[in-house]
């Protein structure tokens, strides 16, 4: 049976509709038979990108918010999603790749659900970042640049987060955690493990 979303491109009111082998056959009230090309159903990433493009625009200056939007939903940019973005904006895929790889927060390798970004710049370094790192590594069993096998956590190091007076600091996705101690970190991570 035809769904109503597929019917939207049917011009004449339909008396009888059948979905057969990828084609829709509609017989309208005048008994005319129409064959319709199938609507290519968009796969999830295409839909996400199309919605983002609707929201931000389809020009080159809208590329960054769209990349950010995809990363927010998917946690990273696969080659497939970059090609779809290129298609949506009609820009070369190499340009999308070149732009995305410039920015540290636009990961192009698969990441976990929660991305931990631990600051490694001088003040956090002085205030015990290495102990925090050790605590995270021991608890999650992953090193810097790795993702846990249950795909829940990824551990990265990043540069100054702007919380030097409350060092050491880390981001988990967009949330900031400061004045860390190994114990505090363990608490925070166990909360996340429950999510």
């Amino acid at each position: 049976m035809i769904t109503s979303s597929e019917l939207k491109w049917c011009q004449a009111p339909a008396a009888f509709a059948v979905y057969l082998n990828d084609y829709s056959i509609i017989i309208n009230y005048q008994n005319q038979i129409h064959f319709f090309q199938p609507i290519v159903s968009m796969n999830p990433i295409q839909e996400i990108i199309s919605e983002l493009a609707d929201q931000y625009g389809r020009r080159r200056e809208n590329l960054l918010p769209i990349l950010q939007g995809v990363v927010e939903k998917e946690k990273y940019l696969s080659d497939y999603s970059m090609i779809e973005i290129a298609r949506e904006l009609d820009i070369p895929s190499a340009e999308v790749f070149g732009t995305a790889t410039f920015y540290s927060f636009l990961d192009y390798k698969r990441k976990g659900k929660f991305i931990i970004r631990l600051c490694k710049t001088i003040t956090c370094s002085m205030k015990g970042k290495n102990q925090i790192l050790l605590a995270i590594e021991n608890m999650l069993k992953i090193g810097v640049g790795e993702t846990s096998s249950d795909k829940k956590f990824s551990l990265l190091e990043t540069n100054c987060l702007g919380w030097c007076h409350k060092a050491p600091a880390m981001l988990i996705n967009d949330e900031i955690y400061t004045e860390l101690t190994p114990e505090k970190v363990r608490e925070i991570l166990s909360d996340y493990m429950k999510k």
Binding site: D79, R87, P92, E95, F97, G98
Partner: protein, 596 residues
């Protein structure tokens, strides 16, 4: 009326146009400031910092290619600070560069080498960064080899692929110490949207991007007594080859080229121009057939405008970018491929040689031809139609390796059977040439008269403008072509893929009513091809174009349909244009590819 400004360079006052860069002002004053990322064909980048100069009153040095002159600017190009800084920059470049020049393809023709030699970099104090970098080489493309260890990140290739060609196969990726020139997801150039045009190779100052060379394979074939090695040479080669062997740009070396090829040991030295004439016969007939089908029969399946199909870079471009317009392309193969198909059938039969033993080599100004020869459908002779494609540069290397003193060679002529050509064929090497040749023949077929241009020089299609238009009115045609009476044949010529895009977009948006378009992928046409001598710039290409037109006007025959060998091949072998045999050997199909 431009009010000039006064500037001082090294103590001498000059009057210059405001806005002129320091680099150009210095050049006009006879002062050469070294550059690396700067290129006449491209927009200014200002990233290598080699061209820095001192401006009095400013503590920091300025990049002369990116700084416009201002009133009363005092510029110093040769102070201790400038020289020491420049030396440092070169040392920095060398430290992240695989500086093992003896093993590099561009040894002897590398801009980084020149800089290092000029500044006498005799020792390296800095630490060699190459072992830490894990560079890789991409050798998968049949046309281009990308060696990251030789890259100086001048971004010329990126700018070329973006500005001149509009293909954007290469991009700058990552940042900081990881910054590099990459393709999409660092895939092989063979796997991304790349047209193989080789303009990146043409513009690369070092050995980071080079053509895939087949020199050793061809030497082996030549030395093999069992093999009959046939070579064909493209028209643009004869006006470019000289530059690699001691001549100035724009000197024609046709006779010497043939002599050299004979000296190298090729069994037959033949001319691609022969099949260029043949292409005109086939394509001209195809155009007239399409015109009849559209204008008289109203056949909707036949498409206009028809587009030329001799540029494999253009073919791959349209396959990627405008796959829905593939039926606009002429089904004719390029002259190279027609030649290849005929050499292992017609030529083999006439010379009574087993086609199995024929090795078909071509000398091309082009890197995309290497890809074209590799296309799976190019086997109509029953064998691989063209076995090896060598660029003009590779031929020069072979000539030098053979110890031939090129300048002293006596002119020789091409061999018979597939070596005769006309002026219309030789202009295939320049933008507008295919159009001009086609018009010379088509007009005469239709009206019985020569094209109404003095000396057959169809000027509207000549010149270096990106897109050129011409229209030729058909009046009083022969009875058979009466349907064309009064028709203004509208033609467009584009060179450089960025201009092909302009024309194709105009066609797509129904903004034009062209009947026939010629597209050459490379700026200037084949004479500016990816396999031509390096360096390239607008001035050099202009000189090569003048040489091609001089060659045309100096030929006894100027129209393709007058070529006696062409007449002979139809009589003895092919039958008629678009006939069954032609169709089998001389026509081809295309494949739609991904746009992104």
């Amino acid at each position: 009326m431009n009010k000039k400004i006064n500037i001082t360079i090294n103590g001498i006052v000059y009057e210059v146009d405001p806005g002129l860069t320091i680099l150009d002002a210095a050049r006009n004053a006879g002062i050469i400031i070294p550059t690396l990322c700067y290129h006449k064909d491209l927009c200014v980048a200002g990233n290598c910092r080699v061209c820095v100069v001192e401006i009095v009153g400013q503590k920091r040095l300025s990049a002369s290619c990116a700084t416009p002159c201002q009133e009363n600017m005092e510029i110093l190009t040769n102070t201790l600070k400038v020289r020491n800084s420049r030396k440092h920059i070169i040392e920095l470049l060398l430290s992240e560069h695989n500086a093992d020049c003896t093993k590099c393809y561009k040894n002897g023709n590398c801009e980084l080498q020149e800089l290092a030699a000029e500044y006498k970099i005799m020792s390296q104090d800095l630490i060699d960064l190459v072992p830490l970098k894990h560079y890789s080489i991409d050798m998968y493309s049949p046309s281009i080899v990308k060696d990251d260890s030789r890259c100086v990140r001048c971004q010329r290739c990126v700018r070329t692929c973006a500005e001149l060609q509009g293909v954007n196969a290469l991009t700058v990726a990552f940042k900081g110490s990881k910054m590099k020139i990459a393709t999409f997801f660092e895939n092989s150039m063979n796997d991304v949207v790349c047209t193989n045009c080789g303009q990146c190779v043409n513009h690369c100052p070092t050995g980071a991007l080079i053509e895939k060379n087949y020199i050793e394979e061809v030497w082996e074939a030549i030395s093999d007594p069992e093999k009959h090695v046939v070579v064909q040479t493209a028209p643009a080669v004869r006006v470019g080859l000289g530059e690699e062997l001691g001549f100035d740009p724009g000197v024609r070396v046709t006779g010497k080229m043939v002599a050299a090829l004979k000296n190298l040991g090729f069994d037959a030295v033949l001319d691609t121009d022969f099949t260029a004439d043949l292409t005109i016969m086939e394509e001209g007939t195809e155009l007239l057939t399409r015109l009849k089908k559209v204008l008289v029969d109203k056949d909707e399946s036949v498409k206009l405008p028809m587009a030329t199909s001799c540029s494999p870079g253009w073919i791959k471009y349209i396959e990627h970018m405008y796959p829905e317009y593939l039926d606009h392309l002429s089904t004719c193969k390029s002259p190279q491929q027609m030649f290849g198909a005929l050499v292992k059938t017609y030529y083999a039969k006439a010379r009574k040689i087993d086609p199995e033993k024929i090795v078909s080599v071509s000398i091309m100004p082009c890197t995309a031809k290497k890809f074209e020869a590799n296309r799976p459908e190019m086997h109509d002779s029953g064998y691989r139609d063209v076995d090896y494609v060598l660029t003009t540069r590779e031929l020069a290397i072979m000539i030098k390796q053979a110890g031939i003193d090129f300048m002293k060679l006596q002119d020789k002529k091409f061999d018979r059977l597939m070596g005769e050509s006309t002026g219309a064929a030789v202009i295939f090497g320049v933008t507008g040439g295919v159009m001009e040749a086609a018009l010379r023949t088509a007009y005469e077929i239709v009206t019985g008269r020569e094209v109404p241009f003095k000396d057959l020089e169809i000027n509207p299609v000549r010149g270096m403008e990106g897109v050129k238009e011409a229209s030729v009115k058909i009046e009083n045609p022969l009875a058979q072509w009466a349907f064309l009476d009064g028709v203004e044949l509208k033609c467009a010529v584009a060179h450089g893929l960025v201009n092909a895009k302009k024309v194709m977009d105009a066609v797509k948006n129904h903004e034009t009513n062209y009947h026939f378009i010629e597209v050459m992928a490379c700026p200037g046409g084949c004479l500016g091809g990816g396999g031509q001598p390096i360096p390239t710039n607008p001035e050099i290409r202009r000189k090569r174009a003048l040489a091609i037109y001089a060659e045309d006007i100096g030929m006894p025959l100027r129209k393709s349909h007058e070529n006696p060998e062409v007449i002979k091949i139809y009589k003895d072998f092919l039958g008629s244009p678009l006939g069954e045999k032609s169709h089998h050997l001389l026509h081809t199909t295309y494949v739609a590819r991904n746009r992104y």
